[in-house]
């Protein structure tokens, strides 16, 4: 019973700390906003120029001048401020954002990330992803552990063009959680019903296993 997307998002929400400024990527990372514990007060940044992102508007109340980086209509909060794209990336590249949660096509055991381009296919562009991984203090990846064809996405080396080198701190996939540290990757959690053997089989990257998982 691997984790569902919602369960991955819920696990990622545990990384949120009171007072954090957080940027959530498009796709599954967006779901994390639904699982922020009431006791944790975080401020969501949207790289198109907004700090303090609120929920979707009520029907009939959408404002075309108020969207998030996924181009979805949203709302503002009491604490909201608006600013230019340059100021937005001052926050992002300058290390002022505490946490970014992003999707991935591939991650390497050194923390390299590939999530923007498949050679030979139409490329839509990297948007703000390269800036986020270059500047944000902690980068958490949420991804399916394997591609649709079953191939590994957590690899010794990425084969796709990179978004950033040694930028990923943590991977939350449907099989469990990996921390990526200077001396390599460590499997720290298993999704319920997933065995160490399952993970080893489905992973190309080298990784250590945290002690308490060995005694399961």
């Amino acid at each position: 019973m691997a984790w569902t997307r919602e369960e991955m998002a819920k696990r990622a929400a545990q990384e949120l700390v009171n007072g954090y400024y957080v940027n959530l990527g498009i796709g599954i990372p967006t779901l994390v906003a639904n699982f922020i514990p009431d006791s944790v007060d975080v401020t969501l940044q949207s790289e198109n120029g907004m700090l303090g992102m609120g929920p979707f508007p009520y029907e009939g109340e959408a404002d075309p001048d108020l969207i998030n980086a996924g181009k979805q209509t949203i709302t503002e909060l009491n604490r909201t401020s608006y600013f230019s794209s340059a100021d937005s990336f001052s926050m992002i590249r300058g290390g002022h954002i505490d946490l970014s949660i992003l999707g991935a096509m591939q991650v390497s055991e050194q923390g390299d990330l590939a999530n923007w381009m498949i050679p030979g296919k139409m490329v839509k562009g990297m948007g703000g992803a390269m800036d986020l991984v270059a500047g944000v203090k902690k980068v958490v990846i949420i991804m399916d552990h394997n591609a649709r064809d079953g191939s590994a996405k957590f690899l010794k080396e990425c084969t796709l063009p990179l978004t950033g080198v040694k930028v990923v701190d943590m991977i939350i996939s449907d099989v469990g959680v990996f921390m990526i540290k200077d001396d390599g990757a460590v499997l720290t959690e298993l999704a319920p019903g997933i065995s160490l053997e399952d993970v080893k089989e489905r992973t190309e990257a080298n990784f250590k296993i945290e002690k308490h998982l060995l005694t399961l």
């Binding site: 979707f56 001048d65 979805q72 209509t73 340059a86 992002i92 800036d131 500047g135």
Partner: protein, 236 residues
């Protein structure tokens, strides 16, 4: 010496030429200079290099200039929403330079103060870094990116006074203020033109010195790209 023009067509008169470089504000379809883009299309000028975070959709925003084949090259960070764009690109009819969004924003911002180059760590070790100068500062590696300027910048603001002092609204601000500073000629279209003195001088986002021409938008569509809502029942 009035900066105010009666129409987008007149505001573009005399400053357009084939092969020119333009900047157009906006993120997705939010905060785009709709009237000015339409007038640029009607001008028929071609071989344009267009600097804009996105490329509009097929029939709106910069997509209109793609349909008419007026754009030779796009400098953007994300172009996912445009099928005609994809077709022209895959057919090698369109040049495309992808910049990381923050790098693009900073390159445009650098145009204002005349900064020809700056170093950033965004993109180090990726395709973006290929062919660019690498330099170490305090033991970390950065790449050199260049500043951008435009022959003409097309800007969308919420309000202007007659001096060209501008105020933007919510996330429609995005790339507009930097592009206003980086244009040799910067033209703004606004929803409301007010008398000079009506705007609070502490609250002006773009001072009038950066704006050469002003028009009032007509028939703004303000199309929403992805309408996402919740029902009252759902609560927060």
């Amino acid at each position: 010496m009035s900066k105010i023009y009666k129409s987008a067509e007149r505001a573009l008169d005399g400053i357009l030429f084939d092969g020119m470089t333009i900047m157009a504000g906006g993120f997705g379809l939010c905060g785009i200079p709709e009237n000015l883009i339409a007038a640029l299309r009607d001008s028929g000028k071609k071989d344009i290099t267009a600097i804009s975070n996105n490329a509009g959709v097929d029939d709106f925003g910069l997509g209109m200039l793609l349909q008419t084949r007026q754009i030779k090259k796009m400098i953007s960070s994300y172009v996912g929403e445009n099928k005609e764009f994809e077709r022209q690109y895959l057919a090698d009819e369109l040049e495309l330079e992808f910049n990381p969004q923050g790098t693009l924003a900073e390159r445009i911002r650098a145009g204002g103060p005349g900064i020809p180059g700056f170093y950033t760590k965004t993109g180090v070790g990726t395709l973006v870094a290929e062919g660019k100068e690498h330099k170490e500062f305090d033991g970390e590696t950065y790449i050199l990116e260049t500043g951008l300027k435009a022959d003409v910048s097309l800007i969308k603001a919420w309000k202007a006074d007659k001096e060209g002092n501008l105020i933007f609204k919510k996330t429609a601000r995005n790339f507009n203020p930097m592009m206003a500073s980086a244009g040799k000629v910067s033209i703004v279209e606004v929803e409301e033109l007010v008398e000079t003195g009506e705007l609070d001088p502490d609250q002006i986002h773009t001072p009038g010195i950066f704006i050469q021409r002003i028009i009032v938008s007509k028939n703004l569509e303000k199309r929403i790209e992805q309408l996402t809502t919740r029902t009252k029942k759902e609560g927060i």
